[in-house]
Symmetry: C2
Subunit: 414 residues, 2 copies
């Protein structure tokens, strides 16, 4: 097949459209891009696509997300590999703020379908990252069975799981994060478009607000319970911990995963109406932190170290089943993960309530020894369980970052 050449056009969407683009780039663009508008030749909102690790994991968490899980619908390994190669070229262009292919929305000739759908014309790169992951189902195909990492399997059933199959699983996934949601949606939509006949969308999820920071340069955002979320998250500024807990080592299991990571996605419905009728004291007891500052109970600063043994007149300051205690590394023999989730609201539930919650995304070096014990600890005892329900679940193996001539999955399909 003939692949489009990513090197023949380096024009950004913004440059192509000149003055119009500059004006339009202000539309729906996040803070960084908008404020950097005057310095057009040095766009600060491009996240490098290639590198030792895939972007979108420890790179700073953007504000908006569109996540999609696909089923594979082809029997042909060649066809699937060709799609991965094509997607890689598209993804690299998209993350630079370019159209998906040369020609794009309007330049490929009027007697052909446009090679880009066009709704991101005039918008900047918006820090778009695109991150691919492979689900267990991929390894039942194409002679890949022996290359399946032992850590990659559908997660066990956890207590109180109430999973909807239509929001779970998938043979592969793409996580698109950007500071402009239209840029993230445009990317997923175009990748799904060229996948027609090879893959089909199984489920997808929009997230409107990030709930974790992945860098010490970011303020901690709030989830829909109104609490700061991810204060104790792993951060990009601590590379040793990332090597311990996020990046798969070259001797861990399958060599093709070295430098990669595992993505666990959980769609967590929040029963916000019950939560909203709960007293502040109870909310803070459930979480184990102050709602205003985010500090551990009894302390004053968000980043004060957790002291799980401290007591007040009523006993332990942090309840024995508080969320922050059960999820802490102190309670989990030192286990840590990288959280990268998003708030969602998907219309109504048909019973007079908003269908809202947290689309939890975690990255870890091994889900079986990190996520699973953490979730078991939470699922059994977490006080928060009264106010949440896990309704979707998926796990994916995210291959390492790409060298100059590599494509998504090239270490697997080499």
């Amino acid at each position: 097949m003939s692949l489009p050449d990513s090197n023949t056009s380096r024009f950004s969407r913004r440059r192509l459209f000149g003055a119009v683009g500059v004006g339009a780039a202000l539309v729906g663009t996040g803070a960084v891009a908008a404020c950097a508008e005057s310095d057009e030749d040095q766009p600060s909102d491009i996240v490098e696509f290639r590198g030792a690790h895939q972007a979108g994991i420890v790179t700073p968490a953007q504000d908006r997300m569109h996540f999609v899980a696909f089923d594979i619908t082809t029997e042909s390994r060649d066809e699937f590999v060709a799609l991965l190669q094509k997607w890689t070229l598209m993804a690299e262009r998209l993350t630079r703020g370019e159209e998906t292919f040369d020609g794009g929305a309007v330049g490929a000739g009027e007697y052909r379908p446009p090679s880009d759908t066009g709704e991101a014309l005039g918008l900047s790169a918006s820090s778009l990252t695109l991150t691919i992951g492979f689900g267990p189902g991929l390894f039942t195909r194409f002679g890949l069975a022996d290359l399946r990492p032992s850590s990659l399997a559908d997660l066990q059933h956890f207590p109180a799981d109430n999973l909807d199959e239509r929001r779970s699983g998938g043979d592969l996934c793409i996580q698109a994060c950007a500071n402009d949601p239209q840029v993230a949606v445009h990317a997923i939509r175009n990748l799904a478009r060229v996948g027609f006949g090879t893959v089909s969308v199984k489920w997808s999820q929009l997230g409107f607000g990030r709930t974790s920071s992945t860098s010490t340069s970011q303020a901690t955002p709030r989830n829909l319970f109104g609490f700061k979320d991810g204060t104790a998250n792993l951060k990009a500024e601590d590379p040793e911990l990332l090597d311990d807990f996020i990046w798969v080592g070259k001797d861990d299991d399958q060599p093709w995963m070295a430098g990669g990571s595992y993505l666990v996605a959980r769609r967590i419905r929040m029963l916000i109406e019950s939560w909203d009728r709960t007293t502040l004291k109870e909310q803070e007891r459930v979480i184990g932190r102050s709602k205003g500052t985010g500090a551990p109970l009894g302390l004053t600063d968000e980043f004060d170290a957790l002291d799980l043994d401290s007591k007040g007149p009523e006993g332990l300051l942090i309840d024995s089943d508080a969320h922050v205690r059960l999820a802490s590394k102190e309670n989990l023999d030192g286990i840590q993960i990288l959280r990268r989730g998003y708030n969602f609201t998907d219309g109504s539930d048909g019973f007079g309530h908003l269908d809202a919650g947290l689309f939890f995304i975690a990255y870890c070096r091994d889900p079986l020894t990190q996520f699973v014990p953490m979730q078991l600890a939470l699922a059994r005892k977490d006080l928060l369980n009264e106010y949440i329900q896990h309704v979707g679940s998926a796990v994916f193996a995210c291959p390492p970052g790409l060298g100059e001539s590599e494509f998504w999955g090239s270490t697997l399909f080499a």
Copy 2:
């Protein structure tokens, strides 16, 4: 009942949280707010709540939206009026970037449920507007039958309508628009929260990207067909046309609606997979404009005047059934409306496709003489009909703006 006093606290969320607030305000905040960060005492991202007309109609269209329709669940007029009064106080505070009530998320005492859910702490006002509308069902209650405007009735069935009752109608609605989606969601969630027992959520819709401009100062955004949308929209800068086409006159019908407007909402599913396989020439023939510039076919600038009679070698440059022709005032005896819609993507449709499209919102002085004839013209012949399907529909009477002591609906319930 005792109403919270909106005058005892004028602290913005940002000021309350001091240094933390400033950092966090950069999280997920639109361009205007973020760039104005240094000028903290003069926030430029507050849209005045009170005035001759409700905000959120001709005020500049913000980037994100959360729209909710409610059913009324009380039999008591007093209870419903009390809710409208309480909502008004909350809405005014929210649009100033304050918490919903004094005390808010953390200051009302630990033995009470917080009076604000807290997920907008640290975020700026983000140009939030909240706009209320009353559906036909309200006027079957509370002795209001004689006050129902004759223009307010469920819309007729249009050719090819495929309406889902679960996404249609409603006794009242609130449109929340903001440049930060978390601010819009926070507002709707808190208004729904205090409405418990009086109203219940019938349906709601998130919009991630605006598809119209309402001011000449705004660039024209693109819809998910990749075309600029709303180029010929009515704009705030032409008050005479607004009086002709948007604002209800004092002698139009019911005096309580003078200065108000009618909101028509249509959830329009786009069959994006079919569209994406169509040639550029066909796409441009269907719309009647160039995809790149947005100019009418045969012309070069987006704002060039439509010339519906101009011909080329193949006949009419703008097809006799092109969308832009059928929707034009030239084709509709001069009718115009104000469009204020949003792009949406709501997961997947269960058939391997994204559930995406346009949440169309139009404001007009009389839906029966403006929206209905326009939609009839489009539903019968529009070439676009091959690629869209109307799946939700609702109409609401939006009362006029609020004077200093008035509440939402005070002209109706006076």
